[in-house]
Every structure is written in structure tokens, then in C-alpha cells.
Symmetry: C2
Subunit: 331 residues, 2 copies
């Protein structure tokens, strides 16, 4: 398999809930007005805590420093696993499950923090730029590694980047087993033709920027246990949307599409307390047992918590698996 | 003819150019998300100086006080002349020309300041609430006057509102003759079905909120004498747009409509210095000679200057008329 180190230098930021009004202008530009910006990697995820915005340095320039904006200090690079067309795989699963053993587990063992961003199209594994040497050394046995520079890919060898390697210890860390929350919402992972983005603009703007204020005449949501989670990304021209079925009903049904109609996902939110960015092995903790059972999963990290999405029909077995895991937090 | 005093209490405000980013959130709500606001009267006009926003008190609540926001101190009420269907009129002209002699001139003579807002659908004559008694007394000979309250219209008689009358003097003021500017842009006055507003959302957002920043690869405007002027209004569910032909080209041609295809207008901007709100007779100065020549005109007041739009084919005679007027500032 091939591993691509993509040509985006990313920042991971968080806008607090009541600060969003101050960022409406740059965010609308980044989402809808591609001609006005050089940003090529943009992701916005609303959770109950805040808005996580991951974007490249061109996009980051659009965000004015503010008391409402938190910025993680590192530059992050997105990795992308390319399944070679002919490679036969015993697994039918998609998402992080496919890369759990080959990428996630080895990086966790090397104490490399990862920030995951699954989209409709693919799964981005974000690693800190300063960890790149360790990442390459760790993954080069399993992968042919290519680095994208200006649209061209060139092979990367470990000796090219040996500086900085060996800094991380070798022994596997004892991972914290974080509590998980499994809200009742059903989620969809969708895409649309970027040319039809204008057609959903007012709905998307409404959902992203105004959903916290009540609609005239609208009843408050009946289901208080549902979690607010909405993710939009526009990466290299591809749009991906993750939303629950209640939000989905607001969009025109003919424009958004899923890989197979009616595919619904349930969420496992990881972390009782905000997770921070330095702990390693959180993704591995969830993705390993899913991989063992060959259960598909999308995985979206945010500034405070991690979120795995698993097929609705597997949520009972995943719940049991995670309960078992908490009782016996082995290795 | 009937005169309606509409049930909107309006504020006239101005947002400075570099303060617009701070008002993107409330303005987008007021323009596109009607379900989220009780605002029923909203108008936004960009000029080279600023953004004039006229809106009712429900809309005004959305605008946070800021150093970037100037608010005229008065409450303004919109008047609307209803041409009774059967009344024969010798004039074929539309816009302020039709009301120049019956409304504009008498109010100017009574020292009543007016703020004009022509739209695709009609012409609103805004007067200060405190001037209402004078307005009614002045216009009741010519009009049956009705006041709208909660959607119902009831006849208004002068004795009902006699308080406050006679404060203004009787003699006609000597009007200042303001310099005028006639930029080369050609303007269109358009409307669209409010249900199709979402379809032009990204274009309208781009033009209104991002047009001052250069587009990637776009050439700077060739014609430096062209004036920036763009007006959007959403009043009682009706949309009106005034823009030049360069802005118009950015919109899909099939959604916006004009009263007759290809109708183009030229602008007469009134005022070398900002006009303020207290001088009377400015609209009268322009609309009287237009009425004498039966030339149609839209008229849009803004925070700093007034703007008359006249048919392209009449601009030469209007220019000569105004030059004549400056030489002999009679009456």
C-alpha cells in the first residue's frame, strides 16, 4: 500500500460557541467563495463544546486573532493511505478500521499523537510536522511513502528524514481508557457536487451559524439526549458532510448523496474530559477492537473530544466491546 | 389617491466600510433567514462611503452597538402612495416623478425632511415620526390617508393628530442647490421571487460582503469613474435589487427580472458633501424638474448622499436640465 504525505500545512483551531458571530465573515468565504481564497483544506466541526476548524495556512490567515479563537501550537500534516486498486483485502470494512493495524497502532506505539479526520471520500491522519521523521520510520516497512510537493509525488526514504528520530521511547504506553458516550442520534456521511454547494448555501449557513438561536414557531428539540454534531469539509475540491438525520431533513434530498442509500451511523464519543492533543493511543483504543471485528468506522477528532461513527446495526456489539474493554484495560 | 402610513417603525443606520465584517452575521440573517427574524422591512445600500441599512425595530435589535455603526436618532415611518386603479393619469412616468408635485413638493414647503427609498415594487417616502402631524395636515387635501395597524387600515383625519402641528414655518425655504455627479455606470432595477433568493445566495453574499477584496485572478475594474452602488431590499416579503450591469452579469440571468427587458438607468448622485438628514427640499429639487418633463425616476437616499436613477435615454436632457438649474437656482 502507498502512504501519501499531502502538501497541506494545517492548523487545528477552536472557536468558542459565542464567538462564532465574529468569524462568520471569514468562514463563509472559506466555505462558499473558493475563488476568493487560496485555502485548499478546510474542515469545520460543531460539537456541544465549540467549533473545531482545521485548515491550511492560507485559510488560517483569514482568521483574525481573537479571545474567541484557540490555536493548537503545531503545524500538522495530513497523511492518506491509498489502497492500490489490485490489492486483495479480506476486510469489507471502510474508514479507520482499514488502517487500524497498519497505521494507527504503530504510531500509537511510537507515542505519535494523531488527529483523525474521516470524510466521505477518505480518512486523513494528521500528524505533527515535528513527528514526521518518526512517522516515516515507523510506517516505511508497511508502506511505500510519497510526499506531495506542488502536485507531484516523490518517494520518501527514512534516511532522508532521520533527523529527530529516536526521540520517542520504544515501549508501548499504558493507555488511559476514556469513558465513552453513545448518544441516540443517527448520523449520515454525505457528499455533494461542489458545483451544487450554492444550492444548499442558505440551509448550510442556517445550520452552521444560526442553529443555536430558536426559529420562529419552532418547537425545542424533543430529544434532550441527542448530541449536537455537524461536520463540513471542503478539501481539494471535495465536499463532505456529517450530520444527524434531524439536520439532514433540512437539506434538499436530491443534492446530497451517501455511498448507499439509507446508510445510518451511530456515534461513540470518546472522553469524559477534554482529551488535549498530547495523549497517544486514543484512536488505537477504539479502532483496534473495531478492526478485530471488521466493523467499519469513520473517526473525527475535534479540539476537545474524539468521535467514532459505526454502522447502526453494529452499535450493540460495539457498546458491549467497549464495556468489556473498560473492565479489562489490557495492553 | 390614497396615502398609506405603513406599520413599520424604521431606523436609518450606517455601517462603515471596514466594519462590515462585524455585521456579516446579523445581515445574512436579515437577508436570507426570514424564519429566524421578525424583521419585515430591511434595506441595505452600498455606496463608496458606507453601507446604509434601513430596517424596522425588530431588525434593528439584531445590530449590536459598535463604533462601526452610526444610527440616525429618529424613528422614521414609511408612507406609500396608492394610485387607485381607475384614476386616469396623464403621466406615463414611474417612481418619484409621479409623487413629485403631490407629496414631495408640499412636504418640502413645510420643512419636512424626507428619506426616499424607491424599490422595484413601489416608492417609500420615509418621514420622521415626530413630523407625522405636519405630514398629515399637509397631505390630507390631496389624499385619503390611512394608517396601517396590525394589517388593518383605518382612515386618519388631521384633527386626530393636531398635536405638534404649526411648529414648522410656512414660508418656502431657499433650497441649497447641491452639485451632482453623473457616473458612467448603467443600472438595472430588478426583482426576484423571494422563494428563489436561496438560489442567488452565494452570489449576493459575494457581491455584498466580499466585493472589496480582489478575486483570485480577477483584473481590477477598468473604468475608474464607475461608482460602487448596490441596493438590496426585502420589504414585506418583496425583494428589490438595484445594481449596475457589471454586478448584474454575476447573477444567473433567468432568476432576476426587470419590468421590461433591457431597461437601463443612469444615476444622478446629489451632494458634493454628505447631505445630513435635516435639510429639506433635496428630493424636490430633482423630482420637480423631472416631473415637469415627465421623466421617470427612482430615488434612493442613503446616509451620506441621495441618488436619482433616470432612464438612460433621458440622461442628456436631465444633465442639461440640472446644469440650467444650477445656473438659476430659482424659487
Amino acid at each position: 500500500m502507498d502512504l501519501h504525505i499531502l502538501d497541506h500545512r494545517l492548523r487545528v483551531t477552536s472557536i468558542c460557541k459565542n464567538g462564532l458571530v465574529n468569524f462568520t465573515h471569514p468562514l463563509i468565504k472559506l466555505i462558499f467563495l473558493r475563488k476568493r481564497t487560496r485555502c485548499k483544506f478546510f474542515s469545520l466541526t460543531e460539537t456541544p463544546e465549540n467549533f473545531t476548524v482545521v485548515l491550511d495556512e492560507e485559510g488560517f490567515k483569514e482568521l483574525q486573532p481573537s479571545e474567541h479563537l484557540q490555536v493548537e501550537g503545531s503545524v500538522w500534516l495530513p497523511l492518506n493511505v491509498i489502497s492500490n486498486g489490485n490489492a486483495s483485502s479480506s476486510s469489507q470494512a471502510v474508514g479507520v478500521t482499514k488502517i487500524a493495524k497498519s497505521v494507527i497502532a504503530p504510531l500509537a506505539q511510537q507515542h505519535v499523537s494523531v488527529f483523525m479526520l474521516s470524510t466521505y471520500q477518505t480518512d486523513f491522519i494528521l500528524v505533527r510536522e515535528k513527528d514526521l521523521a518518526v512517522v516515516i520510520h515507523t510506517l516505511e516497512e508497511e508502506f511505500n511513502i510519497y510526499r506531495e510537493v506542488g502536485g507531484e509525488y516523490s518517494a520518501v526514504l527514512s534516511q532522508d528524514v532521520r533527523n529527530g528520530f529516536q526521540k520517542n521511547g520504544k515501549e508501548a504506553p499504558q493507555p488511559t481508557v476514556h469513558p465513552v458516550l453513545i448518544p441516540p442520534n443517527q448520523f449520515c456521511v454525505m457528499s455533494l457536487d461542489p458545483d451544487t454547494l450554492p444550492a444548499i448555501a442558505t440551509t448550510l449557513i442556517d445550520v452552521l451559524f444560526y442553529s443555536s438561536s430558536p426559529k420562529e414557531g419552532a418547537l425545542p428539540s424533543q430529544d434532550l439526549d441527542c448530541i449536537k454534531f455537524f461536520s463540513f469539509s471542503l478539501i481539494d475540491g471535495y465536499v463532505s458532510l456529517v450530520m444527524d438525520t434531524e439536520a439532514q431533513r433540512q437539506f434538499p434530498a436530491d443534492l446530497l448523496f451517501t455511498s448507499s442509500s439509507g446508510e445510518l451511523w451511530r456515534m461513540v464519543r470518546i472522553g469524559g474530559q477534554p482529551l488535549g492533543f498530547d495523549e497517544c493511543g486514543i484512536v488505537a483504543q477504539i479502532s483496534q477492537p473495531l478492526a478485530d471485528s471488521d466493523i467499519s468506522a469513520y473517526y473525527i477528532s475535534t479540539f476537545s473530544f474524539d468521535h467514532a461513527l459505526v454502522p447502526e446495526e453494529d452499535i450493540v456489539s460495539v457498546t458491549e466491546m467497549l464495556q468489556q474493554h473498560r473492565k479489562e484495560p489490557a495492553c
